[in-house]
Symmetry: C3
Subunit: 330 residues, 3 copies
């Protein structure tokens, strides 16, 4: 594993190894020297709380030095196109940006959200791939248009902590949100859950299908791992006997390029996760990547219940990222 | 002391102990290991120079790792209301924000200015109290609507350095400012000065009374410590034989909720601290929390005189904060 | 050397010593303890990638703690005028800003671009000089209106690495840019190249002369070091047999105070560095301080050629800054 771009980059055995390493870091939290003397660039093209804070702590706890870079704000705006005549507003080409950083640091983490403008382009993760193209050090995906693998690793660790290595019934359920949001989190969760061999149900309204190529990957993974995948459009059926309920809003490909596209308001009450739905589960746990809109995605009652594992899930970001950093940076 | 929210949280003996600890840090400035391996979140909802810089240095000099978070800028905007349907612009609820941070760090410092909109609400420090409510680690007040206890500790240390443990004549005097400003600094200074047993005079124009409950606390503290408190509206009388002149502008409760409220321009020349007034003191020292508007709050002549202790006062922020951090974080 | 404001501050022997120290840091990159326990303030009044990242890494690799400060954003806006009545928008006077920082940190780096408003004022570097005036710790110029000495040191190191100590034919050539840019980089490059004894050609269009006093300094330096300086207005002649081609756009003094001043569009194609021009050199290397506008300042073909040394040049910022920091901070 040279870069960490999606959990697809990880072989099955390595996935287990990373989870165990993360659990060990959690069991005994102290400063190590795995990144001693190393600086790690953390490039944020979008806001962040968990990623920003947990990556800084992770690098520090491994003995290293986090270097935060915010292009377009504290740093120059970036041009990504090749062969371009740079006489506009973009100040620095990604080729120089990444090559220079590669000289200063031992790894580069980058967060870049989907712009929701051109699905065919964004699904190829052009920004993340440009970092990979020009970097001579490992690149860590801190959320791209298509993937959020650190989150997915933390999610799998959280399920593992609660349920052990058993195969569980896992529901990934769409939820309404006032804004159109990227697909990275559901994509990576679905992929990782199938890699772990879970019995995955993906529930969303008609027209909200995830990327077909991604879904094919998820199915392939499930086939390899002994898991299963089904997609339903019923907002309630997936809760039956579920062990894990993972809620997330996303915008489908049809929203890309349409600034005015909004979710049908009627979907809000239909898809919110509430106690009635949770009562159908097998004492299932509630998960969400955060930040979460209370009483929009999920009711206070569910989020504040003892079955809500969102804070553990966020904490586990720290531990899996330490495992990823310690494995990638040599 | 679980949290450090105001100097009211500190017992009399502990106040002395913290000052001595701070003086010891100042006498021998080197890196210790009291925060070794610990990360400390520093949450800034408002701009800052001294607090931001001195807290970063303090955490580093104790062996720790400062993690800066700016909600609404580099991090998500925060919703504080309970039972709210989060379908507006606020992205993350304070409940998740603080609970998640508590997992990453060993203490949370937070700076949040008064909004000057609703005095009855803001005087209860709702933002700071929300941090306390949800945090499982110590919360340090880096200035709230009602208090700025790190500043007040540094102020008391500065007076102690200059005058020893003696009870001194201390004037807290209002000053004109082009903008309406919060009351946190005068509140905390008055409270700490009375806790230390000083002979405190609070001088301000008619209608600029500090919060009545706060003043009652100040009087109680003075009674316990053997100090005294008097309030006057004469802009000159308080300087007579004063050992300490502490200037600060603030807006009274009547300004809250009135965006157009400004201080009467005639108060400016009447209340500015100048050499004529300082000449009435007992070779008194001039203090201010900074940043200070030159030739508005105080003349250049006074601020640049050898009796001006504003830079020592700012330096002492570092030392008292080290003492507070080392005491709070176990 | 108390402060590091321009390479003029460095004696000839010291220049050599700093380059050798930088080369040694590059040869063996690991954490030292030369800044152990020390915090270094990095004050950014303008955006930055290389300076911001490389200074943070430099301070860390010397065992210290970088403290980033952004006046007007995360910190207060600064007033620079003396004797001013501060009743406007500026919140803190530079006198307090710098004096306070001096108490917290062991050195202050400051980046402040030319405002391009008043050449006679800006050529005296008033902002940088105000830092010097009030600082009790070393000040490091991270680019001012007139100089960028860390860049010039990195440039000289890059030439040294490629060519050894030999005197080389060096071309500093102007280039077109969509915006008016400061003169700091060409000023410092010309000065350092002449200090190193190179055979310097400065090429620019009519009316784009560098500051006459600066040019006189450059000529003096060349006389002392055995180098030479000539200025030409031919966009091609300087490339003949050149060992080094250093491109940079700048605005001449006549642009200062004229917001609408733009470079004549016809200069763009005339002055761009392309393969035809590079073919005239003695297998010369291409240099630029970055960020660089591709296909405006220089063609992709030249920038991506093996003769392009811009990434080494950027990397060397790190190593020279470590040498400067370790020398300045005692």
């Amino acid at each position: 594993m040279k870069h960490f771009l999606s959990t697809n980059d990880i072989a099955a055995g390595e996935f287990e190894h990373l989870l165990e390493k993360a659990l060990a870091y959690k069991a005994e939290r102290h400063v190590t020297n795995e990144l001693a003397g190393r600086s790690i660039a953390l490039v944020f093209l979008n806001p962040s709380l968990r990623t920003r804070a947990s990556m800084q702590v992770a690098v520090f706890e491994l003995g290293g030095n986090p270097v935060l870079i915010e292009p377009g704000s504290t740093s120059w705006s970036i041009e990504y196109s090749d062969n371009v005549v740079m006489d506009g507003n973009r100040t620095e080409h990604i080729a120089e940006f990444v090559r220079v950083l590669s000289r200063y640091v031992s790894a580069i983490g980058v967060r870049t959200f989907a712009g929701l403008k051109d699905w065919e382009l964004e699904r190829t993760d052009p920004v993340l791939q440009a970092f990979v193209k020009y970097s001579s050090v490992p690149v860590i995906n801190l959320e791209s248009a298509m993937h959020h693998p650190c989150q997915a690793m933390a999610d799998m660790m959280t399920i593992r902590e609660r349920f052990g290595e058993a195969r569980k019934k896992v529901l990934l359920t769409w939820a309404w949100h006032p804004k159109a949001l990227p697909m990275a989190v559901p994509n990576s969760f679905a992929l990782a859950a199938s890699q772990m061999g879970h019995e995955l149900t993906i529930a969303h309204p008609n027209g909200y299908d995830l990327d077909s190529e991604l879904v094919a990957q998820v199915c392939d993974s499930a086939a390899s791992s002994g898991g299963s995948v089904r997609t339903i459009t019923d907002p309630v059926a997936g809760f039956e006997d579920a062990d894990v309920v993972y809620a997330k809003s996303w915008a489908p490909p049809s929203f890309y390029g349409k600034e005015s596209a909004v979710h049908d308001g009627q979907l809000r009450d239909t898809w919110i996760v509430n106690s009635e739905k949770m009562a159908r589960t097998a004492n299932g746990i509630f998960m969400h990547c955060l930040p979460v809109r209370r009483n929009v995605i999920v009711t206070d009652e569910v989020l504040d219940s003892t079955n809500s594992f969102v804070i553990d899930e966020a904490e586990n970001r720290l531990h899996v990222q330490k495992a990823i950093l310690a494995t990638l940076v040599r």
